[in-house]
């Protein structure tokens, strides 16, 4: 006989942070596998995981109930399930109210609030935290709940085979009888399989900040918080089958699904009573006339008509108007902003000034952006100057109100290092050992036995085995809610009727309980306002050039197609520029030899894991260099691949290829793009394989090429770059390159003031600039501002287009100096020049620690013979006093002390220690003689060695990379006073020298030279630590994985 089924009504997933141990999708899958008729997801004080559960349930055709376990002011809890859309809105509003009034991470609601929002909700009252089992009878609460919920209030039995539950259940049953509440059987579900119990124990310990040994009764006494099979549940409640049956009744009453959410984008308040579509058309056509002052070309007009038609058909006019308004607001405030991503495929976006790329002229594919078949919201990413993005975020809040605008969440999840730290602590491993272990673990990779062995631990010990196992299990488990970098959800109806809103840790921000993927899965509109450091650099550069030379520059007035700029780019001399500055890009540029803007678009796209792993780079380069004939697998593909010489490089090309070669509709092609992105997770790409290949073969395309195209599609899946995206980026890349070539001082200055950003440290950027003849002046309290500034060279100051300029380093580079302290210093200096260290300290109210920092950085050079003298003086400074009290008096005359001045090595070392850079020299300059005596060349000499020759080299490591697609190869960039050296470590060599490779900042490499088209790599065979009389301090390497 079949056991009577039941519905688990009280299930908490990993999104009840640090409580549940299973992913919502896992719970749904297991419930489906067990043959349960439905499952209710009721995370604590939130609905963070419902979309994931919904998506999986939709795929399986499995009914899902949605609700939440709410925490009350009195510390008890109540379970609420949404019956319908109004109930869902009530639940979201309740959670929002509780969250917004509570500190981040907690929530409290009152009984009255619950009763006010009872419509459309079912309440389940029970569990050990419930007021219903509290020793003091909740008579008053029971009355108001019964009045509010009527027959939708149930007493929830909760059994987990614990002895203490007997008394609690007896009390609950007695009170349920007294209050007239029907009983429903349940048990708290925290994991879908029993083997997750260990992880649940660990999460509980993390939540309470205790170890397993000291957790006591904070962890549960058994593994009964599992999703039970119908048979097991029937056995658990064999004495009360009626209560079990009632769980089905409750589930029957809940009909709400997230599919019921009908979302409307907020409509703009329009002038002249026109509707959104008309207004958008007017603005677009006005914009088109500005973009094409000599008359809008026919094909542009046609494209605009097509796009406006689609936009109107899909009712997306409001969204475009919002983006237009945001961009206009940026312009009004003088903030650089530029749309990117697939929006650059839209002529409407171009005419509305949202994007800067003409998609018609570029031949970009509109369907990549928007299609009627897909009917999915468009995705417009707006890059805004990094420093000023917050202004625009607050503007959006102000314009739409907190009820209609909230930022999208981002879930912070456990990664290898955080996982090993937390699990290690919980297992009682000494924290110092755990810390050592965490540093040895790869930040993104797995956690293997070897890591333990490297840390001196025995991986066979049971505790260490548990550490390995649980560290693996906990990875990707959400830890807490954070905020998406710039995603907004805007709603016509209040957002809190859609999804709960809560406070973000950042002041002035509110955040919804869903992340980017959730928003996409539900087809909701997201407005992405992203911060871009490069725009910040550009703005700063334009300002500096205007101030120093009186020349007005902006993105539109930078001369296009500037030959010296392209010459510099072709030489791979692009450090500091946007997108084309990485080691790989710099190595590619001399081979690619870009000559125009479109070449840059290709350059940006081709140095990506997709094209690299798809084997597209070398064929393209050969064809470009004329070493290989440009051919097309089929004449029909020529229009698609012509601009990239027959090689598919962009995501759009793959889509077009599917359209032309395999007769995909544009919508199908976009589905292909989406499936490419998801192929690893779901294998959805396989559906396209046969269709693509067979149709291409039918068209007369060689099967070999068809197979190759499919492989390229796979490569693109995760790492492909859309042409529209590259086109937007190429504009900024060119602008930064132009500035580097023609205004190197302003470029460096802007770059240094916009840090941290980019690929290289300030020290490396400064060294590169010096090699380009930029004059740098060190930090000096008598001359430096907070930011780095431009100073006219020579005695006569004044602005002029040809005035030679020097860069004066800013006080912002003094480690530990706060902005407020610097402001006091600048204010005091504006009143009168400083006469001594004591005077500086007194008037700027700096303590001896701060003056000592200034002395060490050489910023007090005007007051002492050398830095040690200045340091001795600064150490005598007393605690800051009010500036009005005047100068600090020395109590009595002090005997003089004499110190030795710094030698050149020490000078550079002190610069780096106190300000992370040196204007005076490179750390290796003073060691050059010693290095040469050991037969070690500098970077320039190394580059002159013949291909295949053996070489030994020593330099400072400034960058390490181990791309996931490179088969374990590690790329390093080493630096000396003459330039950079690219080093390649094959996996075998890396494994042999792993510790040295990962930890040493001054490194010796022995290997062979690989030279091709002026690009030189040192292929490492051996790594070693150079032995010198002095060792340079630790350089800061920027490591990427």
């Amino acid at each position: 006989m079949l056991a009577p089924s039941y519905v688990p009504l009280w299930c908490k997933s990993q999104y009840s942070f640090l409580e549940g141990a299973s992913d919502p999708a896992e719970l749904v899958e297991e419930a489906h596998r067990l043959g349960l008729p439905a499952l209710a997801l009721t995370d604590r004080d939130g609905v963070y995981g419902v979309v994931r559960a919904h998506v999986r349930a939709r795929e399986l055709g499995f009914p899902l109930l949605l609700g939440s376990q709410l925490t009350l002011h009195d510390g008890s809890s109540l379970l609420l399930l949404a019956q319908d859309r109004s109930g869902w809105a009530s639940l979201c509003r309740l959670i929002s109210a509780g969250r917004l009034r509570s500190p981040k991470g907690s929530s409290k609601v009152g009984w009255e609030e619950i009763c006010e929002h009872a419509a459309g909700l079912i309440a389940l009252w029970g569990g050990s935290e419930s007021a219903l089992v509290h020793p003091r009878a909740p008579d008053g609460v029971a009355d108001v709940l019964r009045d509010a919920f009527g027959d939708r209030l149930y007493a929830l039995l909760a059994r987990h085979r614990e002895a203490r539950e007997v008394a609690l259940e007896r009390r609950l049953r007695a009170r349920a009888a007294r209050y007239g509440l029907p009983l429903v059987a349940g048990s708290e579900v925290l994991y879908h399989l029993r083997r997750r119990r260990a992880l649940q124990d660990v999460l509980t310990c993390i939540r309470h900040g205790v170890s397993l040994a000291t957790a006591g009764r904070r962890i549960h006494p058994n593994d009964e918080r599992v999703l039970h099979s119908p048979e097991a549940f029937a056995l658990l409640y064999q004495d009360d089958p009626e209560a079990v049956r009632r769980s089905l009744e409750v589930a029957e009453r809940c009909r709400f699904s997230l599919a019921d959410i009908h979302y409307r984008y907020p409509s703009e308040k329009l002038p002249d009573g026109r509707d959104s579509a008309e207004h958008l058309r007017t603005l677009t056509l006005q914009g088109a006339r500005k973009r094409y002052p000599e008359g809008v070309p026919f094909e542009v007009s046609a494209q605009l008509e097509k796009e406006l038609g689609v936009i109107h058909q899909l009712e997306y006019d409001g969204y475009f108007l919002t983006m237009y308004e945001i961009v206009r607001e940026c312009r009004r405030r003088g903030i650089l902003a530029q749309g990117r991503g697939s929006a650059a495929n839209s002529a409407v976006c171009y005419c509305l000034d949202i994007t800067a790329v003409d998609p018609v002229r570029m031949g970009l594919l509109f369907e990549r952006f928007l299609s009627v078949e897909r009917a999915e919201p468009p995705d417009i990413d707006l890059d805004i100057e990094h420093d000023r993005r917050e202004e625009i975020i607050q503007h959006v809040y102000q314009k739409y109100g907190r009820k209609h605008a909230a930022m999208v969440a981002n879930f912070i999840r456990y990664r290898a290092r955080s996982a090993v730290r937390e699990v290690g602590k919980v297992l009682g491993i000494p924290e110092v050992t755990v810390d050592r272990l965490a540093r040895l673990a790869s930040p993104y990779g797995g956690f293997e036995d070897q890591v333990l062995i490297d840390a001196g631990l025995d991986p066979t010990q049971p505790v260490n085995r548990s550490l390995i196992q649980l560290t693996r299990e906990i990875q990707d488990v959400p830890r807490h809610l954070s905020i998406h970098p710039g995603g907004f959800l805007l709603g016509h109806e209040p957002v809190h009727d859609l999804v709960p809103i809560e406070n973000a840790s950042m002041e002035g921000r509110t955040v919804i309980q869903w992340d980017k993927e959730d928003i996409e899965d539900l087809n909701l509109f997201k407005v992405d306002l992203l911060g871009l450091g490069a725009l910040n650099v550009l703005h700063r550069c334009f300002d500096l050039v205007r101030e120093a030379r009186g020349v007005e520059l902006d993105l539109a007035t930078i001369p296009p197609q500037d030959e010296p700029t392209f010459e510099m780019i072709r030489a791979g001399d692009t450090m500091g520029t946007f997108q084309i500055e990485s080691r790989a890009q710099m190595a590619m540029l001399p081979r690619m030899k870009p000559r125009n803007y479109y070449d840059l678009v290709i350059e940006i796209s081709i140095v990506r894991p997709g094209p690299i792993s798809g084997g597209m780079v070398h064929p393209y380069l050969r064809r470009r260099q004329g070493l290989e004939e440009v051919s097309y697998p089929h004449p029909s593909l020529e229009p698609v691949l012509k601009r990239t010489l027959g090689i598919p490089i962009f995501q759009e090309q793959v889509m077009r290829l599917a359209v032309v070669a395999a007769d995909y509709t544009p919508g199908e092609a976009d589905q292909l793009r989406r499936d490419m992105a998801a192929w690893r997770q779901s294998g959805r790409i396989d559906r396209h394989r046969d269709r693509l290949i067979s149709r291409m073969v039918r068209k007369g395309i060689a099967r070999e090429f068809a197979e190759q195209v499919f492989q390229q599609i796979l490569g693109f899946g995760e790492y492909g770059f859309p042409e529209s995206h590259a086109a937007s980026f190429a504009l900024i890349a060119y602008a930064t390159a132009w500035l580097k070539r023609h205004e190197p001082e302003a470029f460096l200055c802007g770059l240094l003031n916009a840090q941290p950003m980019g690929f290289y440290s300030p020290s490396t950027l400064i060294s590169d600039s010096k090699r380009h003849g930029v004059v740098l002046r060190p930090i000096d309290v008598r001359a430096s501002d907070w930011d780095c500034t431009l100073e006219p060279m020579g005695a006569r100051a004044g602005a002029g287009a040809t005035t030679p300029l020097a860069v004066r380093m800013g006080l912002r580079y003094i480690k530990g100096l706060h902005r407020a302290q610097a402001d006091r210093l600048l204010e005091a200096r504006a009143q009168a020049c400083f006469s001594s260290v004591q005077d500086l300290a007194a008037r700027a109210r700096l303590d001896e620690g701060m003056t000592a920092r200034l002395a060490q950085a050489g910023a007090l050079a005007g007051f002492a013979e050398h830095r040690r003298d200045a340091l001795w003086q600064s150490l005598a400074v007393e605690a800051p006093r009010d500036a009005r009290s005047g100068q600090l008096a020395l109590d009595g005359a002090e005997m003089p002390a004499r110190f030795e001045g710094l030698d050149p090595f020490e000078q550079v070392e002190w610069d780096h220690l106190s300000s992370s850079h040196s204007c005076r020299g490179h750390p290796l300059s003073s060691m050059r003689a010693e290095l040469q005596a050991q037969g070690l060349p500098d970077a320039v000499q190394l580059r002159q060695l013949e291909h295949g020759s053996e070489a030994h080299y020593a330099g400072l490591v400034i960058c390490r990379q181990r791309p996931g697609t490179a088969g374990g190869v590690v790329f390093m960039t080493l630096e000396d006073e003459t330039g950079l050296v690219n080093v390649v470590l094959w996996d075998r060599v890396y494994q042999q020298h792993k510790v040295v490779a990962k930890t040493e900042s001054f490194l010796g490499i022995s290997g062979s030279i690989q030279s091709d088209a002026g690009v030189v790599h040192l292929i490492a065979k051996k790594l070693w630590v150079p032995r010198l009389s002095q060792v340079p301090g630790k350089a800061r390497s920027r490591d990427f994985h």
Partner: protein
């Protein structure tokens, strides 16, 4: 001490940290760590940044204190005057005056001492000099044993001592290094007033010490040995009464000495060497330190009545451990409490004397799931202050068996019913449960299924089935 706990760390950089946290401060570092410029005062995380192989651990303060005390006792065998540094545990000054006449040279005396310490597992650096600071600095900077021939040689050596070898505050140490001052000699060239202004009083003291302006006498530890009396018997003694009488006479002799020391007896230990070669040891403590001979004798008598001596005693040794007397003045003005804790302590002392030192125990509740993990019996050292508490009626009394008793393996379904406790108790007639307890997976996994069962005899048994041992256990009974 840390390396003695972790011998495998000896070849690695290692440090003692003040707390088991990545931000814990390094208190001591070994030579391997020092060679990598990992210095005391750094954070562990910073040290790990320098060398990923850095090992670290904590050493409890009480362990350090007790080890220092043990070393003082050990060093007292080498010199009668030993001073342990209060600021730097592990630093000791010994008075070597006159040993040059007892040993071929002071260096040899030092080497003997070093060997002795090595046998205890410690590596010592010994400097034999003419001044307190000179020898200290030489020991901090040197290796093995150094013996200076003249004060001038010591001073010359002193000036070469690196500053980072001394226990300077890290901030001061680092700043002096930045000024290019790396040795005590260079440090001494600074003007004294300038040193005080910039680096504080401690640095000034060091400055004075380097220049020979700081002097402090040796302050040797005062060692208080227990008082011992011993009696050898020509003929084996078998009469306990006579032994007791002898102990009384010992006490009478020792009590005046204790009075002179202002000490009371906290503990009595006696050893009976028996003619069969074995030894019988006993000890007892009075309710509180006392010199009341009658009270002590009554306790001794109780203990003697409780013990059996299997063969004749050939030697009796008594050790008396005294502690300083407590001032009782405050009690003179205190209101007399209703309870008399003093009487309770005396009663406990008598119980301990009669039944053994661990006979008085109390329970301590713990937060555990396993029944046996929810409480523990602890020896009651001190009489706790009585506090009124709410007394709740207990519906059933559960008698817990420690350890649980194994029940005979019986199938659950027999013709006569479930005879869990055998035929005598009859079959089980009522069951409540099952209640599951499982856990401890990180250490030793447990999985028990508990039930309350009533047998036909009327007993309520509290039983469980152990999943891993695959058997039924009786954990208690309900009364």
């Amino acid at each position: 001490m840390l390396l003695r706990q972790h011998p495998d760390w000896r070849g690695l950089p290692a440090a003692v940290v003040d707390r088991d946290k990545p931000q814990g401060e390094l208190l001591w570092v070994n030579e391997h760590a020092r060679a990598l410029r990992i210095l005391p005062g750094m954070r562990y995380a910073a040290g790990l940044g320098v060398c990923r192989a850095l090992r670290a651990g904590t050493v409890p303060e009480e362990d350090i204190q007790s080890q220092v005390a043990a070393l003082v006792r050990q060093l007292s065998q080498a010199s009668p005057r030993v001073e342990a540094s209060q600021e730097e545990p592990g630093v000791f000054w010994l008075d070597a005056d006159g040993f040059e006449f007892l040993y071929p040279s002071l260096r040899q005396w030092g080497e003997g001492l070093r060997r002795q310490l090595r046998r205890l597992g410690f590596e010592a650096v010994i400097a034999i000099g003419f001044t307190r600071f000179g020898s200290y600095a030489a020991a901090r900077a040197g290796r093995g044993v150094q013996a200076f021939e003249s004060p001038q040689q010591e001073e010359a050596q002193l000036r070469q001592v690196p500053l980072d070898r001394l226990g300077l505050a890290p901030r001061v140490r680092d700043r002096l290094a930045k000024l290019g001052l790396h040795t005590l000699g260079a440090f001494a060239t600074l003007p004294e007033g300038g040193v005080r202004r910039r680096f504080g009083v401690e640095a000034q003291k060091l400055h004075q010490a380097v220049r020979g302006l700081e002097w402090a006498p040796l302050c040797p530890e005062q060692l208080t040995e227990p008082l011992v009396r011993r009696q050898l018997f020509e003929l084996p003694e078998v009469d306990a009464e006579r032994l007791l009488f002898l102990l009384q006479s010992f006490l009478s002799e020792l009590l005046p000495t204790l009075a002179q020391r202002h000490e009371g007896i906290a503990r009595l230990q006696w050893v009976l060497q028996l003619e069969d070669g074995s030894a019988h040891e006993e000890e007892l403590s009075p309710a509180q330190p006392t010199r009341d001979e009658a009270e002590l004798l009554s306790l001794l008598r109780l203990r003697f009545e409780a013990i059996r001596i299997e063969s004749g005693v050939v030697e009796l040794q008594l050790r008396v451990h005294g502690v300083a007397e407590q001032a009782e003045q405050s009690t003179l003005f205190a209101e007399a409490p209703k309870r008399n804790p003093e009487a309770a302590r005396r009663a406990f002392a008598q119980l301990r004397a009669e039944f053994g030192n661990e006979v008085v125990q109390h329970t301590r509740l713990h937060e555990g799931h396993l029944p046996e993990a929810q409480f523990a019996w602890e020896v009651c050292e001190e009489l706790p202050v009585a506090r009124a508490s709410e007394v709740r009626p207990i519906p059933l009394i559960r008698r817990i068996y420690t350890p649980p008793q194994a029940l005979p393996p019986r199938p659950r379904h027999e013709p006569d019913g479930w005879l869990i406790a055998g035929h005598r108790e009859g079959p089980v007639e009522e069951v409540h449960g099952p209640f599951l307890l499982s856990g401890g997976w990180w250490l030793r996994e447990t999985a028990r299924t508990y039930s309350y069962v009533r047998t036909r005899s009327g007993r309520w048994l509290w039983v469980y089935h152990d999943r891993f041992r695959r058997r039924w256990m009786l954990h208690g009974e309900l009364e």
